[in-house]
Subunit: 408 residues, 2 copies
C-alpha cells in the first residue's frame, strides 16, 4: 500500500462529481494518487511508469509546463490539451494566493474550474517565490513573513497555512513548505536551513493528514529533499523524507547555479535513499540534457520555466540542437520552424517569419515559440518513456545529449 491514511470524501458544493468520484464517496474506500513502474532500464536507473490522479493519467517521465498564475504564458488551455497534450501542469501557490486570491479560487470551485483545466495540477509550495520575489522577507521557526511583490502588503506563510492554501487551490499534488537554499551556500547555513525545512515538513505533513480536500477529489502531498550540494546533508534529508512515506517525493534546491555535475551527484545520492516505488520529482529542472541525465538517475517528474521563458525570448529547443531565432542567419530561412517538430506551429510557420515576429516584439512570436518548446519537451519525455520500454534508453540518451547541446 502506498500510505497510511484514508481521505474520507464528503459530498461538496461543487458538482458535478464524476461517476467514479461518487462511487468512491459511496464506498468510503481508500483512494489516492497511484504510481506504477511499467519498465526499467537495465543500463541506468531510468524507469517508465504512470501516475494516476483523479484528473488524469500521467505517463512518466513527465515534464510539467509552468502555469504560474493560473495560465501557461501565451498558451490557450485548448492548445495545452490538443496540441501540446500535457497531462499535468504546475501552478504557483505564492502567486495564486496573492492574485486572484483564495476567495476567488474557492468560489470558483478551485483552480481547475477557475482556469478550465480538467487534467492534473501540481502546486509549488511558494517557498521559492517567497525568497526570490517578495520584499522584506523574514524567516522564523513559525514560518516566513513577507511583503507582496505586487502591492507591498504583509503576509505570513506557515507550513500549515501553505497546506490550507493548496487545499483551496485544489492541486492534485501539493508541495511541502521548504526553504530553497541559494548557491553557493555555506554548510552551516545549509544545515540549519535543512533542520528548519524538516521541522516545517513535520508540521505540514501533520496538517495535511488532519485536513481534507475541498472539491471532492483527492490531493497528494510531496515532501522536498534539501541539503544544498553537501552529500551528508542530502543523505540526511533523503532519509527524513523517505521516513514520511508520502505518495511521492521531491528534490529541491538544485539547478540554482551549481555546476551540472554537482546536481547530478546530489540526485544520485538522494535517489539511492528515496523509495523506488514512489515518483521522484526534480524541481525546477531544466535543460533537455539535464532532464535526460536526471531520468537516467531515476527521476520521474520535472518542471521548468525554460521552454516558456526562453521561448518568449526567441530560444527554441529541438532534437537537433538549440536555435536562437533572433540570429541574423534565420532572416531568409523559409524552412519550417522545426520540420521534425510535434506541434502545428512547427510546420505552419517558417523560421524567417518567427524571427520577424520575435524581433518585432509581436505576441504571436511568444505564442509560437512557447508552443514549439513545450511540445518539444513533452515529446522528449514521451520518447524517453518509449526508449526505456524498448530497452534502448541509454544509447538513445547518449546520442541525444550530443545533439541537444548543439548550437544551430
Amino acid at each position: 500500500m502506498l500510505g497510511k491514511f484514508i481521505i474520507s470524501h464528503k459530498p461538496c458544493l461543487h458538482p458535478p462529481l464524476s461517476f467514479y468520484q461518487q462511487l468512491r464517496i459511496f464506498a468510503d474506500q481508500e483512494f489516492r494518487m497511484q504510481f506504477k513502474i511499467l519498465h526499467k532500464d537495465t543500463q541506468s536507473n531510468a524507469r517508465a511508469g504512470e501516475i494516476i490522479t483523479d484528473h488524469s493519467r500521467i505517463q512518466t517521465p513527465i515534464f510539467m509546463p509552468v502555469g504560474t498564475q493560473g495560465t501557461v504564458k501565451a498558451v490557450h488551455q485548448r492548445e495545452l490539451k490538443e496540441d501540446i497534450d500535457a497531462p499535468v501542469i504546475l501552478g504557483n501557490t505564492y502567486h495564486l494566493y496573492l492574485r486572484p486570491g483564495l476567495d476567488v479560487l474557492e468560489e470558483a470551485g478551485g483552480l481547475h474550474k477557475f482556469m478550465k483545466w480538467d487534467r492534473s495540477i501540481l502546486t509549488d509550495s511558494g517557498g521559492y517565490q517567497v525568497f526570490s520575489l517578495s520584499e522584506n522577507r523574514k524567516l522564523s521557526p513559525e514560518g516566513a513573513h513577507f511583503r507582496s511583490h505586487i502591492d507591498g502588503s504583509k503576509h505570513l506563510f506557515t507550513p500549515e497555512g501553505v497546506v490550507d492554501i493548496q487545499r483551496t487551490i485544489g492541486a492534485d499534488i501539493m508541495m511541502a513548505f521548504d526553504e530553497c537554499t541559494p548557491w553557493p551556500c555555506d554548510k552551516a547555513y545549509a544545515e540549519s536551513s535543512l533542520e528548519l525545512t524538516h521541522q516545517w515538513l513535520d508540521r505540514g505533513w501533520k496538517h495535511f493528514k488532519e485536513s481534507e480536500p475541498k472539491y471532492g477529489y483527492s490531493q497528494s502531498f510531496f515532501p522536498i529533499v534539501q541539503g544544498s550540494v553537501y552529500q551528508d546533508l542530502r543523505e540526511r534529508s533523503a532519509e527524513k523524507i523517505a521516513s514520511i512515506a508520502a505518495e511521492g517525493n521531491a528534490i529541491g534546491g538544485l539547478s540554482v547555479g551549481e555546476p551540472a555535475e554537482d546536481m547530478y551527484a546530489m540526485i544520485e545520492v538522494v535517489n539511492r535513499i528515496l523509495p523506488e516505488d514512489r515518483p521522484r520529482y526534480l524541481m525546477g529542472v531544466g535543460t533537455p540534457i539535464n532532464i535526460l541525465e536526471a531520468i537516467s538517475l531515476g527521476v520521474d517528474m520535472f518542471d521548468c520555466v525554460m521552454p516558456t521563458r526562453n521561448g518568449r525570448n526567441g530560444m527554441l529547443f529541438t532534437a537537433e540542437g538549440i536555435i536562437n531565432i533572433r540570429n541574423r542567419k534565420w532572416m531568409n530561412d523559409f524552412s519550417p520552424v522545426d520540420e521534425m517538430g510535434h506541434s502545428f506551429v512547427d510546420t505552419q510557420y517558417s523560421k524567417a517569419y518567427l524571427r520577424h515576429l520575435i524581433i518585432a516584439g509581436e505576441l504571436l512570436g511568444a505564442q509560437i515559440a512557447t508552443l514549439h518548446n513545450l511540445a518539444f519537451y513533452i515529446w522528449l519525455v514521451r520518447e524517453a518513456f518509449y526508449q526505456i520500454k524498448k530497452g534502448e534508453f541509454t544509447p538513445w540518451k547518449i546520442k541525444m545529449v550530443k545533439s541537444l547541446g548543439t548550437r544551430l
Copy 2:
C-alpha cells in the same frame, strides 16, 4: 465593366498557381476583383454584397482585423480562419517595408506565403504611419521623407514607390499614397493637402496601371477621398476619386478626433458621389456603433485597431454593451466571458478568470480578449448582412445602437 485595363498574368517563380489562375493565364482573359451588390436596404443606403479576390470571397459589409506587422496581434492564423473566420485582414505598408523588409517578403513569395495566410490581404499605403509614427518627416510634392521609428534610418515614400512596395507585399487590395489630415485642420491646409493627395493619386494610379503583380494573382488599387470635415472639399475629392473608376474607393481622414456627427455627415456627402457599384472602404473606423451607422450610409468595408488594441487593455465589445473587464465588479463573476459570444473563448473562460489574466498582465488575457472582440466584430458585420437581406436592417440597427453603447 469595372475598369479599363487588363493585367496580363505571366507564369512566375512562386508555384503552385491554382487551376483557375492557370486558366486565366492561359486565356489571357481579364480578371480582377469582383464586387456584386446582392441586397439593398429600403430604409437606408445599406447594402449587402460580396467581393471576390483571387484569395477569398468576402461578404460585405466586412470588418478587416488589423495585422500591422504581418500578424494580428495575439492571434494565430489558424484562429483567424477557424474561430474568427475573417475572410480578409489588413497589413501595413510602412511597418512591413521597415520590418521584415522587402527583400525578405519578396523571397518569401509575398506576405501571404510569409505569414501563411491564404485569404485576402489589404495593405494600407503607409501614409498614416509616416505622419503618426516616423520621425523628422518632411513632405514635398515628390513624396514624404521620413526617418524610421525603429532605427532612425532615412527613407522616402513616393506615390509610385508605395505601389511598388505593395506589389512586393502582394496585397490583394492596395491603397493609394495620401496625406491623412489631422483634426482639427484649418481649411487652407486641408485644401492644399487635398491637392497634393490628388496629384499623388494620379501618379500612383498611372504607376499601378503600368506595373504588374509579382506572384500570379491580381491586385486592386483603391484611391482615398480626403478633405477633412469640409463638405466642399470632400465633394471635390469624391469627384476626383470617382473619375478614376478604380475597383473600389476609400474614405480616409475620418475618426481622427472629430465629432461622430461630422464623420457621418462627411460619409453621406462622399457616398452620394462615389459610384454605387464599387465597394466603399471607410478607413480606420471604428466602434461597433460607428460601423453600423456607416453601413447605413452605404459603406462596405472597415478596419480598426479598436477590437485588438482595446481588447489587450481589457475592453470587451458585446451585443449587450461594453465591458471593462478590469472593473472590480467582475472579480467574482464566474459567468462566461460572453454567453452569446461567437468564439470558443466566450464560453470556455469566465469573466473572473479573464479579469485575473488582464490584471496580472498575462498574455493569455490579451489572447482571449482579442479573439472575443474580433469574433464579435465579424459577427456584427455578418449579422448586418443578414438583416439587410431580410429587409430588417434599419430597425435592427436602431435597436443595436442602443445596446452597443451601454456600459455593462
